[in-house]
Symmetry: C2
């Protein structure tokens, strides 16, 4: 039996799918612009639980997931499609309209226009979110451009969304959450895509490779390293572990969530460390260095170095 | 409770969705080309049954549905995305690979490249098919351009896919089908999009409005009439009822399937009757005339005229 990545690789080879394998496909638009496009399928009880969220938050999140993919290419989001399958009972109680409300609230913030989609009856809620963006021709930031010696950076913080998930799993809900729990629940249920910082990185031309942290740092850094044919050294004490997470969870658990927890939609990127630090971009942390030991990720900790194995989320 | 069309209308007004409501959205690409794009969500036991089909046929059909939407705008398909949710048991038995095989067999015929998508675990099979095409700038054929006096045409035949569905519902399967049943089952399970005739109509500039017959002639003609603010008169004896359907079903049942059955993916279009007939395009039939009686569709039959009410498929 194949893992998700093995099957994808098999299909790519078999059908010569050269545009697949990054956060977005890059397609020629016009003389000065490329189009980047991405699709994300979210399925009830796999990717979200209706008992844990609200239709407006779900609408926000499905678009946020796709905007994060656009951001990971250095793109500016422009338009989107959304296909929705819902059971009749939700059709009748206004669920779809509320989901669109949440979707549009986020879309309006970035000037994204809904141009299409489909609606169907289904047993469980299913949402496929497609978003497209523009990037200057040849300027998309791919996973494959990292070279040994580059600095490794994160834009945003990590671990909070996974902490929010663990709170939900332990029975906590937004209604009735304490002040220290609420921000973690919000970061899980209504994540913020790093659209502006991505555009800034693109326009400065400083990122050699980029990916969004959707599966978890250990998995997504592995993807970037595999595609770039490099390795990495990370400094544990440099990780931008979310402040709300550190306030509520013990340090070892916070580190675990930051290393392996997904859905923060922070951006992981590489590039000339000095140039990037000189830009003094808000919320950007230098966390390590690209090495030439292909796919090996070394984690430097006070207790001694370890090899970081991917433990992020996999569907199969 | 809203119907699908009422909710869509409500959302369009509420969120100013000006690009939604045709077979595809039309987006500017470059100085000479527009991009047309469409999404179709197909859900197990609503849109297809695994017991009735094969993974390769399903892969073919999900792409055919989207190519038909591109055709309905007069577009040339270029690239596509596909998101798939499957249960673990199908992941393990090669279902996904076979579905991709069927998809790519059709894609290769039209030079369509898979550029993205997503895969997820789910309880039922879910496929969201997104396809994009090119059309000369300003040249997309919309639903809204029909005017009184235009001829009404169909490219292709109608009724066969619905007949195939009724055979499947009565227990017939491809394995063990008779020679007269098989073509109807194939037209349901592996429909042919009218890509070439659509490009021909676009390049000749003769179609004033177009829609693909996916829900059924009575419903899709109604959509076209509503959008164009016109009515229609159809001649029952001019309908291109599928030959295999006529051979196997009694005339009244064949007519019923042709009028209301969906999924044939024939094209319904309007335009100057003489000009279109002069082109002598293969498989194109003149079936009636556009009138000024908004949304009223009159059916001329030997037994007397009737008003044709939409009875096509609706999810809600």
């Amino acid at each position: 039996v194949n893992t998700e990545f093995e099957l994808l690789h098999k299909l790519k080879v078999k059908h010569s799918l050269n545009l697949i394998g990054d956060d977005c496909a890059v397609l020629p638009k016009d003389a000065v612009t490329d189009l980047v496009i991405t699709a994300d399928l979210l399925i009830q009880d796999i990717d979200f639980r209706l008992e844990w969220t609200a239709p407006e938050l779900l609408g926000h999140k499905v678009l946020a997931v796709s905007l994060s993919d656009i951001a990971a290419m250095g793109g500016t989001p422009i338009w989107a499609l959304m296909s929705i399958g819902v059971p009749p009972v939700l059709w009748e109680n206004g669920f779809v309209e509320r989901l669109f409300d949440g979707w549009h609230r986020l879309a309006a913030k970035y000037g994204v226009e809904l141009v299409g989609g489909d609606m169907s009856r289904s047993d469980n809620v299913v949402v496929d979110s497609i978003a497209a963006g523009h990037v200057p021709k040849g300027g998309a930031i791919r996973r494959s451009g990292a070279t040994a010696g580059d600095g490794i950076f994160i834009a945003g913080t990590i671990g909070a969304a996974a902490a929010g998930l663990s709170l939900l799993e332990s029975g906590k809900r937004l209604a009735g959450a304490t002040c220290s729990e609420e921000p973690l629940l919000i970061k899980q249920l209504q994540p913020t895509p790093q659209v502006d910082i991505a555009k800034s990185l693109q326009s400065h031309g400083v990122a050699s490779a980029m990916i969004d942290i959707s599966d978890g740092l250990s998995s997504d850094l592995r993807h970037l390293c595999r595609t770039s044919l490099v390795g990495a050294t990370l400094r544990s004490d440099a990780l931008p572990i979310d402040g709300d997470l550190r306030a509520l969870f013990p340090p070892d658990q916070a580190l675990e969530l930051a290393l392996h927890g997904g859905e923060d939609f922070a951006l992981l990127f590489t590039g000339d460390a000095k140039k990037i630090l000189d830009l003094d971009l808000p919320g950007v942390s230098l966390i390590g260095e690209v090495t030439s030991t292909v796919e090996t990720i070394r984690l430097i900790q006070s207790g001694g170095d370890t090899i970081l194995e991917p433990k992020g989320y996999r569907h199969f």
